[in-house]
């Protein structure tokens, strides 16, 4: 019972490493990689959404969106003015999910495009923004996703190929 130290540890005690010196040699990104297999982020293009307000006019959306998403890239959505919801057609969504939602000030990442729809896909989706004073705004967005071309399979020999038989 006297040696039962483990039971006395607070729940957030470090797992194995106790040496401050060894901790200081490891970058936080590497700690996440080695402990939890969290890989570095693929390159991400920002979709920035602002709510423009002019006196006497209803608020409007100003969306800064990349027109082209290249192979190996992803999107992330963020707005300091509104809560965002993104809705893709489930049957045509280029990412692993067709719906995304993110509160004001946060970011949501699309992940890499799935490449199901050929080397070039024109994507349309709806962006919904709810302002802090409860106004719902929406905009349809269009952009293009490029996927790598799959390597062509070697052609099977055609039936016309001459076969030379030994006599």
């Amino acid at each position: 019972m006297a040696n039962n130290k483990k039971n006395l540890e607070p729940f957030d005690a470090p797992i194995d490493l106790n040496e401050a010196a060894s901790l200081s040699m490891v970058k936080p990104e590497l700690i996440h990689l080695f402990l939890y297999d969290v890989r570095p982020l693929p390159p991400a293009q920002a979709v920035q959404v602002k709510v423009v307000r002019a006196p006497g006019k209803p608020p409007e959306l100003n969306v800064k969106h990349p027109r082209l998403l290249k192979e190996g890239e992803q999107l992330f959505w963020t707005s300091s003015d509104a809560r965002l919801e993104l809705r893709f057609s489930p049957a045509l969504a280029p990412f692993s999910n067709a719906a995304f939602e993110v509160p004001r000030g946060a970011k949501v990442y699309s992940g890499l495009a799935n490449g199901k729809f050929g080397p070039k896909q024109v994507v349309r989706y709806v962006l919904l923004a709810t302002t802090t004073d409860g106004i719902l705004l929406n905009q349809q967005i269009e952009f293009t996703v490029l996927h790598p071309r799959l390597p062509e399979k070697p052609k099977a020999p055609s039936g016309k190929t001459k076969i030379h038989r030994r006599k």
């Binding site: 401050a20 402990l35 982020l41 004001r104 992940g111």
Partner: protein
């Protein structure tokens, strides 16, 4: 500085699911300390599935993180009253969701102050199942450090 919460979907041969979290309670603070450097703190949630799952990787579909009580540790102050919940939705196998910075008002000003915030993780699968967990975010007044990344 991001504190990462990984949500891993597990599946057995009979089609039953379970969830694994690397941090059932993630500890954050308004400030991260790394030697002489100080940084703000965010939380990132990401959904993936175990490679040993039958039908891998076509089981996990969507991750939803919901705080039913506002403000959360990440709620920007001018959001008072709207909306009544804070919801984050992302797909599987993506870098997920990153919150806004932990807000200074999320924990009392005393040096030893700690506040717990309950939230819900819901995972939707491609075959229509939903799995739910109720973890916590623990906000500490004292700075978080590299050591906290190791914590359970």
């Amino acid at each position: 500085m991001e504190m990462v919460v990984t949500v891993t979907l597990l599946k057995d041969s009979d089609g039953q699911y379970s969830l694994n979290l690397n941090k059932p309670t993630v500890t954050v603070s308004p400030l991260y300390e790394d030697g002489d450097d100080f940084d703000t703190v965010n939380v990132r949630w990401l959904l993936r599935e175990d490679e040993a799952n039958p039908n891998y990787p076509n089981n996990a579909k969507q991750l939803t993180v919901t705080f039913n009580t506002l403000p959360t540790p990440f709620t920007l102050t001018s959001d008072a009253g709207l909306p009544s919940t804070e919801v984050y939705v992302a797909g599987a196998f993506s870098p997920g969701i990153v919150t806004a910075d932990v807000q200074d008002l999320a924990v009392d000003p005393e040096t030893n102050a700690v506040s717990l915030y309950k939230y819900t993780i819901q995972v939707d699968t491609h075959d229509g199942k939903q799995l739910v967990l109720d973890p916590h975010v623990r906000v500490r007044r004292s700075h978080v450090t590299r050591r906290d990344i190791f914590s359970r």
